[in-house]
């Protein structure tokens, strides 16, 4: 059963015969009735609607709070606003074009426009055992959170209008195609990359785009000399908690069914996250003398990121190693390496999402091996070969998103300008971009 499960998501979308993968329960039904394999299963549907809700919950309120707590109080609303507006805009663009580009047809590069404006996504359309409407909405929540993750990289200095333009273009020309490559029947999926829930598609992609944006926008005024203490670490920790909670929809939901693989995805997600939270906390305790709230929260997110590509393929002990590795390496990336290079990735989108995604995307090639407790690699594929495949997927993602994000940003900078004025930055974006104040606690 294992090897088939591995590719569930990809295969479903490539229209291959999925009967074998539906498990005994479905087989039983099929056997006794001769029904087609795309019969609606209420349990799978119940889980996938729940999973969709959970992934939306990750972005709003989860990610919004996680990010909003880390900026200075004069920008607390601006970050939340960006996440919220992205949620609105991506939903519409996904319906218009994104879904079709990602999941229309299965050419190597993009899915075409045959499903643009949700053509054919009717109340009866099915994706495997669930309604296609649910699959479309589930995937939409991924297309929402990925751009929203990037917000952290340029927080406290980007123009709201430029942000909207960037994200709107980016989701169509960067996110949707990469999503197609890996999950929509495109070349990376065919090539054999393992990415259960979005190590390349979501995290490396967002992390790299974030780095490019941080470099092009330049540092915040006063960085790194001025203290820029988080305005509300309680928000950040609660946001991390909501990300953790919601991430089960992201990871176990990526199975598109309520089955044993989903159950294992849930278990290993919990293990890796716990391990990474502790790994970052103890690393910091050793290096800086104290464990911190920001540290443990960041560690949990690093673990969630790290296990994302791996969650349907590895076993408990594999997830433990992935969690520890993600926690420690993201800690180094976000504290030491960032400081060494001097770029201003405000909230460490690169250090957590790109680095954590890379750690997970490589290690899944190792721990998916049956000998290491995983679900097993494809027949005849060695760990070394799988890791090579993974590296190619990682590189392809980094190069494509890096270059195209750069182009979009450069063009926008020329046309409308990316950065707010110095005065607006000093006064804060809440007042200058939105005419509102975040806290007004004395009236």
């Amino acid at each position: 059963m294992t090897t088939t499960v591995i590719t569930r998501k990809r295969l479903l979308l490539k229209g291959e015969n999925v009967t074998a993968r539906l498990g005994l329960f479905a087989a039983l039904l099929l056997g006794s009735s001769g029904a087609r394999a795309d019969e609606l299963n209420t349990g799978d549907t119940a889980w996938m609607m729940t999973a969709t809700v959970l992934v939306l919950f990750m972005t709003i309120p989860g990610l919004s709070l996680f990010y909003a707590g880390m900026v200075r109080s004069k920008n607390v609303l601006s970050v939340m606003m960006q996440c919220f507006a992205i949620t609105g805009l991506m939903s519409i663009l996904w319906v218009f074009f994104g879904y079709s580009i990602a999941f229309g047809n299965d050419g190597p590069w993009w899915g075409g426009l045959s499903k643009a404006f949700l053509k054919g996504v009717t109340v009866d359309a099915m994706t495997g055992t669930i309604p296609e409407t649910v699959f479309m909405t589930f995937q939409m929540t991924f297309a929402i959170i990925t751009p929203a993750l990037i917000v952290g990289a340029f927080a406290e200095r980007m123009k709201f209008s430029a942000m909207l333009w960037f994200m709107g273009v980016w989701v169509l020309v960067v996110y949707a195609p990469i999503c197609h490559w890996v999950w929509g029947g495109g070349w990376l999926g065919s090539y054999g990359i393992l990415d259960f829930a979005g190590g390349t598609v979501v995290h490396i992609n967002a992390g790299m785009a974030g780095l490019v944006a941080a470099l092009i926008l330049g540092k915040r005024q006063g960085y790194p000399d001025t203290a820029m203490p988080p305005n509300n670490l309680g928000y950040t920790l609660m946001g991390a908690a909501m990300l953790w909670v919601g991430w089960f929809g992201f990871n176990a939901g990526s199975e598109l069914a309520a089955d044993g693989v989903a159950g294992m995805a849930m278990a290993v997600t919990q293990i890796a996250t716990a391990a990474a939270a502790l790994a970052w906390m103890f690393s910091e305790w050793v290096v800086h003398g104290k464990p911190s709230v920001l540290g443990i929260a960041s560690g949990a997110v690093a673990g969630l990121v790290g296990i994302t590509p791996a969650c349907g393929f590895v076993g408990p002990m594999g997830s433990l190693v992935i969690g520890i590795a993600a926690g420690m390496l993201c800690f180094l990336a976000s504290t030491k390496i960032k400081r060494a290079f001097g770029y201003d990735d405000s909230l460490d989108v690169f250090g957590v999402h790109a680095v954590g995604g890379i750690v997970g995307a490589i290690l899944v090639g190792v721990f998916a091996a049956e000998s290491l407790g995983g679900a097993g690699l494809a027949e005849g594929v060695s760990i070394g070969q799988q890791v090579k495949t993974q590296l190619i997927g990682i590189l392809a993602t980094i190069i494509y998103t890096g270059i195209v994000s750069l182009i979009i940003l450069k063009v926008l900078d020329r046309v409308i300008g990316l950065r707010v004025t110095d005065d607006d930055e000093a006064q804060g974006l809440d007042i200058t971009a939105h005419s509102e104040r975040g806290y007004n606690l004395t009236s």
Binding site: M228, P230, H288, S292, G295, S298, K338, R339
Partner: protein, 112 residues
């Protein structure tokens, strides 16, 4: 009329207020401030970025008193606020030329 301005440790406020009330002081005004001085602050650390916070939370107490009470008030504040650890704070005495009670328009000692 004198203004006694005392910068003290926050957790001494209740004691100081009680002490002054015993002296017959009827009112005072309190502000949350941050103090910089010999008492050392703490460091905060966020994702590897460490920085020193030298300003410590203090309470600034302002009490307008009649000259004849001045000495007692100052003594009382000193004894109620003192912990004998660094950072206990300062008292500044300045002159007030006039006092008015807004509600009644009374001035001078009556206004207190």
């Amino acid at each position: 009329m004198k203004m006694v301005t005392a910068v003290i440790k926050p957790f001494r406020l209740d004691d100081v207020r009680d002490a002054l009330s015993e002296l017959g002081v009827k009112g005072m005004t309190v502000t949350e401030v941050k103090g910089f001085g010999r008492q050392k602050g703490h460091t905060e650390l966020y994702r590897g970025a460490e920085y020193a916070v030298d300003f410590l939370p203090k309470i600034k107490l302002e009490v307008a008193v009649d000259e004849n009470l001045l000495e007692q008030v100052v003594e009382m504040v000193v004894s109620a606020a003192r912990t004998e650890k660094i950072g206990d704070g300062k008292i500044f005495v300045t002159d007030i030329e006039e006092v008015v009670r807004i509600r009644t328009g009374q001035t001078g000692a009556e206004a207190l």
